[in-house]
Symmetry: C2
Subunit: 343 residues, 2 copies
């Protein structure tokens, strides 16, 4: 991978961290209801190799992450993805190195190579995975094994410093892996693990977004201003769907989980955040045998997720007809991990 | 139209009655929440001509109406359309003649010709329109001018006797025309007029049904058994959407009306009664400029309605790509009416 200029092999580690999807509760989380997020088995890999000098070299050629603007307002969190100005992943990597050095009180020269198994900018949490994997790899090169709690906290700090402000959702799920329930209110977050025995087979389909996250969050906000109780009750129902889904996850009751995904999708459609392409994907998946399917994230395009035990091929083929990109994956995989390639 | 065998012209009348759509509240009405129905400006015409003998001749060649089974159970009304055994419109016409004779205590020979501007079996209330127009026409031939109240009541009786059991929804709206709010509970109905100044431009798109009304009502019932409070709350939200829509109708606030249609559609999607084809139509209409669109009736196929001020052509063209049949229409037109063609 690198030209080794030293007479003896340098310490080389590989850290990886998974992408994420929101399984239940997007939009409702802005109004104080819980969301469930999950890791997916598409990972970002950061290979780090100690250098004998103090230089840092970063190889992350094709990894560009859209700029993200996150705004707090009256206790709401608005995450805005800016497709105009794409921020290179480099900003996250540099900040991760800086924050890790500061935290550990030491620094060392390092070569870094970053690669991703996920499309960047599709709402799969690539920037958080890059930040977290970089922290874990660099800490290891510096001779430290950070806990997941430490990595998650430092990762959140990276996102906050790069983006101005950020929710801890993405950096938590990519650090801990599995499934997490998150409740956010007034800028504070409660994060708890949802214990699920096995990872779950999913297909993800991506279509281009027609609107930014900020536009969509504002659209829902305006709808709420116009229709008060109606929208509040839809949010409350989404909250109940999410809590019911938590039980279904714990009981490994996939039929119920699928039905709840379908209900959640209809409620998101009622909020006006679905569109023709997302619904095409949602119904293509169901008609091909998915137990459930829904849009994930802010909507207006982006990803649709489908629960597909025993039907991954069929569902992926059906979704390919409508999607720019599809991927078969599993939900609930391991979070950040570090391997030493060469001592 | 007929061979006139008499030396002088016989009394000849034309009665017409409109079709209908459900604007808001389908499915929720089964659970005691209000629905709003509207007449559409596609009509059934019944030409009636007195005969000098006592014979009755009915010309209704291409007018076949699917058999309908309506069941009451625990205060729920289940309307089942049976595509296997299509009942000829003749059954409704014969029953309408019989009931009108009985009510007025007189009978007379008559030639009847029945034609329809609507597709039959698409959920547009053709059987009610046929029944009501026949009653009005025959009463006139018998020398009586029945009130709309009388016609609606007799029409309901026709549907009940032909089908075994029926709700008064279709026969009321085709008699009174305009917009009606209907609340049904435990087999009793409250029907009130919604006063709307102008008729509203709509496009209707029809696709084949994949499931019967009974299947869909049962599907929702099973979902409610599994997810109790979640489904109850969705029904309550639909009820609120319907009441809010009543205000928007009265205020002629079409933007709000359209948004509420979109919300209602998402909630129906959450109940699992939409499908891929209906959603294609719904989004094709919105993308072509409809202010709002939703499935109407039981779902699983059938009709989508779109509110289209100034955009009827564009929306119809867009919907034609996905629909078996489209029609431009206006909502809230006049109910049953009778004209004397020849004294």
């Amino acid at each position: 991978m690198f030209n080794i200029l030293f007479g003896f092999p340098a310490l080389r580690v590989i850290a990886s961290a998974p992408g994420k999807i929101t399984l239940f509760g997007e939009h409702a989380i802005v109004y104080g209801y819980p969301a469930i997020v999950s890791s997916i088995d598409r990972r970002v890999y950061v290979r780090a190799e100690a250098r004998s000098d103090n230089e840092v070299k970063i190889y992350a050629k094709d990894l560009r992450i859209p700029g993200v603007i996150v705004t707090y307002r009256h206790g709401e969190v608005i995450v805005e993805t800016d497709y105009g100005k794409t921020l290179s992943a480099i900003a996250y990597i540099e900040k991760a190195l800086e924050i890790t050095s500061r935290y550990l009180g030491t620094r060392k020269g390092v070569n870094l190579e970053v690669t991703s198994e996920m499309p960047v900018g599709a709402g799969l949490g690539t920037s958080a995975a890059v930040s977290v994997a970089t922290i874990a790899a660099y800490a290891k090169v510096l001779g430290h094994e950070l806990s997941k709690e430490e990595i998650a906290r430092l990762g959140w700090q990276v996102e906050k410093e790069v983006q101005g402000i950020a929710s801890p959702m993405d950096t938590s799920i990519t650090s801990y892996g599995g499934f997490l329930k998150i409740v956010g209110k007034g800028g504070k977050y409660e994060i708890s693990k949802v214990r699920v025995d096995e990872s779950l087979p999913f297909v993800i389909g991506y279509v281009e977004r027609e609107a930014t996250t900020k536009d969509l969050v504002n659209k829902v906000k305006e709808l709420r201003e116009r229709y008060g109780a109606i929208i509040d009750e839809i949010m409350r129902v989404i909250g109940e769907v999410t809590l019911r889904a938590e039980k279904a996850l714990i009981n490994n009751d996939l039929v119920t989980l699928g039905e709840l995904m379908n209900i959640n999708h209809g409620l998101l459609d009622a909020l006006g955040v679905s569109n023709r392409k997302l619904n095409e994907l949602v119904y293509a998946a169901r008609n091909a045998g998915a137990l459930g399917s829904k849009l994930t994230g802010a909507g207006g395009g982006g990803c649709v997720i489908a629960l597909t035990p025993g039907k991954q091929e069929e569902v992926e083929v059906a979704m390919k007809l409508y999607a720019t990109l599809t991927l078969k994956t599993r939900l609930g995989v391991e979070g950040v991990k570090v391997l030493v390639e060469r001592p």
